[in-house]
Symmetry: C2
Subunit: 449 residues, 2 copies
Amino acid sequence: MSAQQGRQLKLGAILEGVATDHSTWRDPALPGDASIDINWYIENARLAEASKFDFVFIVDSPFITPDTAPHFLNRLEPLTLLSALAVSTSKIGLVGTLTTSYWEPYNVARQFGSLDLISRGRAGWNVVTTGLEGAARNYSREDHFEHSLRYRRAREFVDVVQGLWDSYEDDAFPRDKVSGVFLDKSKQHALNHKGEFFSVAGPLALSRSAQGQPVLFQAGVSEEGRNFGAHIAEATFAGAESFEESREYYADLKARAAALGRDPDLIKVLPGLAPIIADTDEEAKAIEEARRGAFDLEKLLVQLGRLFNYHDFRQYPLDEPFPDVSGLTLNSYKGHAERVIRIAREEKLTLRAAAHRFGLWRTEFVGSPKTIADSIEHWFTGHAADGFILRVARPQDFALFREKVVPLLQQRGLFRKDYDHSTLRGHLGLPVPENRWTRAARLNLAAAE
Amino acid sequence: MSAQQGRQLKLGAILEGVATDHSTWRDPALPGDASIDINWYIENARLAEASKFDFVFIVDSPFITPDTAPHFLNRLEPLTLLSALAVSTSKIGLVGTLTTSYWEPYNVARQFGSLDLISRGRAGWNVVTTGLEGAARNYSREDHFEHSLRYRRAREFVDVVQGLWDSYEDDAFPRDKVSGVFLDKSKQHALNHKGEFFSVAGPLALSRSAQGQPVLFQAGVSEEGRNFGAHIAEATFAGAESFEESREYYADLKARAAALGRDPDLIKVLPGLAPIIADTDEEAKAIEEARRGAFDLEKLLVQLGRLFNYHDFRQYPLDEPFPDVSGLTLNSYKGHAERVIRIAREEKLTLRAAAHRFGLWRTEFVGSPKTIADSIEHWFTGHAADGFILRVARPQDFALFREKVVPLLQQRGLFRKDYDHSTLRGHLGLPVPENRWTRAARLNLAAAE
């Protein structure tokens, strides 16, 4: 049976140059300056577009140390990068990460709104609150915002941004050269927001794109993160350690959204997917073993420490039980850090085992193209995922996925063979949101009749 | 005598879509959506590049009202726009306006640094402090920063940004795949700035471009504005009402820079140039008259009011002396506003006359291509300008300038026939600034020898 008429798999591709771990960059096929070379990004975005991916995705974080992984050390900034990609592609969505903790909502609304016009309706914003406390010191603050406060602040921030995006109704600009009317002033709307954290008058000097507003992505896993996602997300970038864990997250997030009166089908749950692919399952498993063996334990400890505000795990004995770090502030990547502590306790992991387990992206997706496609189908039909965000920094892995796995998914009727739309909302099956002022006028009119 | 070996004229082109006055947009040749159509910008940037312009220039302002002129009402945002232009051109400089009053220096350093890498050394930042008090209300502030405070703040802001741009020495990344050394940690430098307004630790996650750092532009005309320019500007976007006024500004600014120990040749003074060109001088003058006659007086009053925080001049009698508005706050475009008051008094202008005089871009540059080229040469050789920033929204004016005036300037040896460089610093004859840490190490070494 073809699934062509029904639910369709969504696929994103993370473009992260020399990768966010400490060893991938040494792959001979990966250019050492990939993270700062716009041509590398353009080439890979075009490859993803040729394979009909829904979007490319740019990760981000506003704080580094000398021990930070290669991609984060030196990389193009998301908004400038995506704007360059916007005119180098024509269909694929363009999703960038940006923190609500260290920006002004007016500037964020302008830049994503501008990207949305430049790309003609292909922009997405991955809304994060920043997990690294050190970021505060780059922004004239002594301390990072406390975890639950920064989610409350993020909610208001997103409200303001969405309000600004609706500053002009879609028919606000007659541009009538004969009569001399450029703007219909009744269709320009100030926001006049006054809230707990922000006061923003507006209007924003930008009309809306073909998709109405940029798509909101979100990636929180803590309790606050899930609630925030249930409120605002149209797509979530989730972890993907196991089918069971993802299915729980999927059901939980959609239930939270439904409880808020939202249609749960309009939040796409997209786990991160870091597959290891080879011609046969045996070869893929051998590659996995070799890669794990090649990892430098010290760097895995640094990578693990990043989840705990760059806590230095190198101070503990390696072969004793995972240290008690629950007393550490969890004002960082709280959801991730709590999960590490819980699993380490449940599975009685040593620090060495935990470093291997959490310092790398773990994946169930190891095998031949058919095995990978089977797993994807299993997760998709089993409601552990609406699709995946692909994390493959190595050119050969990306090539195998595009050339071998995508065609299998297309043959099975799970994934598009060509684009039916030219906006990100179109690809994701999300409706164009009606301008709030147009809607209010329509409802008032209906009520008066 | 050819000036080919000597001082060379610099030319920028403002890309401002449907223009920042209230009547140009009605020109039949100008698309009504030019200000939000990336293809319009790409086409015009390529035309400027084909004529060997030094740079394109994007004006900006973070506040609008329903009465704002068409371009400002609805336009692409400078950083996203310039990033799209960066991959659509290969030689021309890319200069964007951004205010220090409502941004974080870390974000500004990142975005301009990223644009500089994407464009391979063609970025420029026009540093402004924002003249419109209403902007405060888009950024959660009750009041706009007071005029002299915002210049003090801007000085520190620029210091921080320039410090962050030097986070990595140029040889910081060995990227040695065999030994596994990606970063030479001794070449990554935190800034640890703590000042009156900002505390910024760094480092910034960006290496430097081929031109070292983006070029700093500035446009202040008040006392504080000139001092700020003397300190930080590498090029200034000045007014250009008359030869005498420009020569005074030119000499004054360079003297102030020299007094600070700077080489005055390394600040390029570039007045805004809004020429009216036709086959003959008579035709050009007739066009000028017709355009002035077509201006709507009410809109000129609004345009004039913008310099005074959108003060409403429509309340005063038109044919009486220019009203006494000196009691109004001049916390806005202070230099421009003071100049209007001064000239109105000196020349005994009525409000109607002042609206025509200051509500339009006044220009001495009206005539045939030869007349225009003669005026440019006069200003250039007379040290009233090192070049010009062209403000021609109408396609036919831009075409005449490119096709008729530029060749004359080239024949006279005043302007390049082809690019000799591929960075903005190269075009402007500005040296690549040595990284501050590399320099310090070199000087320490020299001192020890």
